[in-house]
Symmetry: C2
Subunit: 326 residues, 2 copies
């Protein structure tokens, strides 16, 4: 594996962050470990630079991320006297939710920091780096650029390392995606040496599930089908009637893609209000993001999704045909 170059934030982004006094940082709706990890890490870096960052997310921090220090600083309340807005890990403005009140903040600089190739470049300054394995990896390089010259080589406190590793573990599914390279693993070794608790993070982010989720997997797997390389399941409301509000069979789609006979995996979930949420994964060489985008969704070539109307088995039938061409 060739030695990948370190990531370098653009000067315009550094200027905006350096000039900010009270930046509003926003992580996306339904936040995952990369959203929360990037938010807390960038917040910590800017705080140590003497700024007064507001950490914002419309949805609450999920229970499995509450082991992270200072999640109580994340708020959905409106913020006053903000001078810069920073969108994290969000490919379009709808991902920011109501905490980004466009009218109110529309005159402010909007910096977009993201690693999704489908990012719509909706800000005034962008750092979109599809080569990054996670937005948190980009935030590490922001810290190295902004904070290290101020506080020296020990800039990466234990907490920052924990936040950044949480983002990387989340988005690489524990170093299993194709975006995991020698640059990433050298950084991971540095983060663990700085005190980030890798096994705790992995347990919380990837290996924590409820007994009800395990029961849902069992039921959903009864519907597994293999159609010429496309493996799929459906997840109906009826399957979940005694599972206390659980909706999605989390991480099942990646599990399905492990089938050696398959090159694309799909989970079709009948949502509580009717439409069908479609989650796709592909092996390298295939691209499910184009189909997802065409159907109003988004994502990466190897991991994408969308929500469509229709009866769940009919949606599976139609989209499996389309997926075979991806």
């Amino acid at each position: 594996m060739s030695a990948e170059a370190p990531l370098r934030p653009p000067a315009a982004l550094l200027d905006i962050l350096n000039g900010a006094r009270r930046p509003l940082l926003i992580a996306h709706l339904s936040p995952d470990g990369d959203a929360i990890g990037s938010l807390l890490a960038l917040g910590g870096i800017l705080y140590r630079l003497g700024k007064d960052p507001i950490l914002s997310c419309q949805d609450p921090v999920p229970p499995n991320l509450q082991f992270l220090p200072h999640t109580d600083r994340i708020t959905a309340a409106p913020a006053d006297e903000v001078d810069v807005v920073v969108a994290l890990d969000s490919s379009d403005p709808s991902r920011l939710g109501d905490v980004y009140q466009r009218g109110r903040y529309s005159r402010l600089p909007l910096a977009v920091i993201d690693h999704h190739v489908t990012n719509t470049l909706f800000g005034t300054v962008h750092w979109v780096e599809p080569a990054a394995c996670a937005t948190a990896e980009m935030v590490y390089y922001l810290g190295e650029t902004l904070l290290a010259p101020e506080v020296g080589p020990d800039w990466m406190a234990n907490e920052l390392a924990t936040y950044i590793l949480t983002g990387i573990v989340t988005d690489t599914r524990g170093f299993r995606t194709n975006s995991t390279n020698a640059r990433v693993m050298a950084l991971v070794a540095r983060l663990v040496a700085a005190g980030a608790p890798l096994t705790t993070i992995t347990d919380q982010v990837l290996e924590t599930r409820t007994f009800d989720l395990i029961r849902l997997w069992g039921r959903v797997l009864q519907t597994v089908r293999l159609d010429e390389g496309v493996i799929s399941v459906v997840n109906t409301q009826a399957m979940r009637k005694d599972l206390g509000g659980l909706v999605r069979p989390e991480s099942l789609v990646s599990f399905l893609l492990g089938a050696q006979e398959a090159y694309i995996a799909a989970v079709f979930t009948e949502l509580p209000d009717g439409p069908v949420e479609c989650s796709f994964r592909a092996r390298p060489g295939h691209d499910v993001s184009r189909l997802a985008l065409e159907l109003g969704g988004g994502g990466h070539p190897l991991a994408a999704g969308c929500t469509v109307k229709g009866e769940v088995e009919e949606v599976r039938h139609t989209l499996v045909e389309r997926l075979r061409q991806c």
Copy 2:
């Protein structure tokens, strides 16, 4: 996390290996990625030291490990003119199978290299290192000690790095076990930088499953039960009748331990010839190896197993009671 000291092979082991001309290296029955990875890595190191190692294993290399270079050099045939025997990743002599013909080799030095705390110390020289995350990690330090002084800092060829990383990924389940520390992750970064294809290894070792295995998971998960912190399933012969000889629901036991309500997980598999194979996993602070040892099996405190007689549901009933005390 404190900086763990590097592992250091004992002088007696180095003497035996340095003095060997034609060492017989044996990996355990039903070899996994650590057995095969350690075997190929130590074979490569000794070969580059000018020796004529025999690479031996009674069972064939599993399909998902055949991506490794030179697996065709592994044989179950008897070897002549051997002067040293090396047992790899094997906690007792029964794990070596018929390729270790005790009568034939009983006068030869037997070196035991293993990281299982339950190792019975059955050789003439032992390096048993429970602090190692994998036997392959120990083989790395053997290479550093034996080969680096001979061939210089570039001793770790791409192939060696691949073998060693395969062992580490296997036994840490992709860096998810408690044995994964800063020493291990620094080594992993070095192995990836040396060309070991992490994502290929992870895909092959941890993420490759057959469509039939996925169907078996679905059926076995229908029997999932949670008894005061012990989560368990049974896997009967009837469930597998149309699954072409598939026996074990591989890696399901680790998945079950992810249940946040559980501290111990167990899979009870009705074997084709009658007895019940019991596979246990525990969270830190519990110890399932003592029960497994008492029932004639073995393992680590957090991962152990045994095979017992009885009807599968009765075995589950009895052992779940015992596991609640572990």
